[in-house]
Assembly symmetry: C2
């Protein structure tokens, strides 16, 4: 299959409040009022967890169809811990991002525990967001001036 | 500084359509109609790009304040390419996730090109989402039954 390109554009609206355009959709991102934001939307790392949650659930839907399993329902809860020190410019040995991400899945389908474990392992192995978080991904961050030059 | 915990919960609403709760906010995620979704919201990997976009812009705001730079405006555009083959269950050697993520930043402030480059490098180094994408992050995906047991 051919590579598929995804793209988004975002800009600062007010301090921490950001508006991102993804195709026909618009996404509002912000920090809580307690840390100086307007509280207009979830914060950036919550969107990463949300994308991971949805990616796992989307792959569940695909794999269930392949295996002719009736997926009556599925839910996930995710947690991640990070030290905001580096983000805030304070001295720290810690990395800026999540030190660990934990996902717990609830699957409502007629499968044994062993079948659910096999199902979930197949789902995780095929999940794009899981791959990008667990493994390294080349990331380039450049100024517009350097692209235009 | 103490570790800060972030958490979200998500569930399948209809096929690829997912609803995620992040604190007081609700996020709708879906696939386009062309691939079998309802088109009710951006897709999971677009949310990851959006989280990355906003994270870079949030760190820009923090670093600009530290450096007493007036950030009149800032915007970013992001692109990522992935092969959907593994997600779809087709034979492939490719990884399921983005093979590369490119971010181009536009910074409206009274800085020379060299100052903008230094500014952007500091921002990238302190950005939590950049860290989680570019480096490895321990990810655990387990069944509710295994947690409860």
């Amino acid at each position: 299959m051919a590579l598929k390109k995804f793209s988004v554009e975002g800009k600062i609206v007010d301090r921490f409040q950001v508006e991102v355009e993804a195709g026909e959709h618009s996404i509002t991102i912000d920090q809580p009022r307690a840390v100086g934001g307007n509280g207009a939307g979830p914060c950036p790392v919550e969107y990463v967890l949300a994308g991971f949650a949805a990616c796992i659930l989307n792959v569940m839907y695909v794999v269930a169809q392949e295996r002719c399993v009736e997926l009556r329902g599925a839910s996930v809860r995710l947690e991640g811990d990070l030290n905001p020190a580096k983000f805030m410019g304070k001295p720290t040995e810690d990395r800026p991002g999540f030190q660990e991400i934990r996902l717990v899945a609830n699957i409502d389908a007629d499968m044994t525990l062993a079948e659910k474990e096999d199902f979930l392992a197949a789902v995780e192995a095929r999940c794009p967001v899981s791959d990008n978080l667990a493994s390294t991904t080349p990331v380039s961050v450049v100024l517009e001036e350097k692209v235009a030059a």
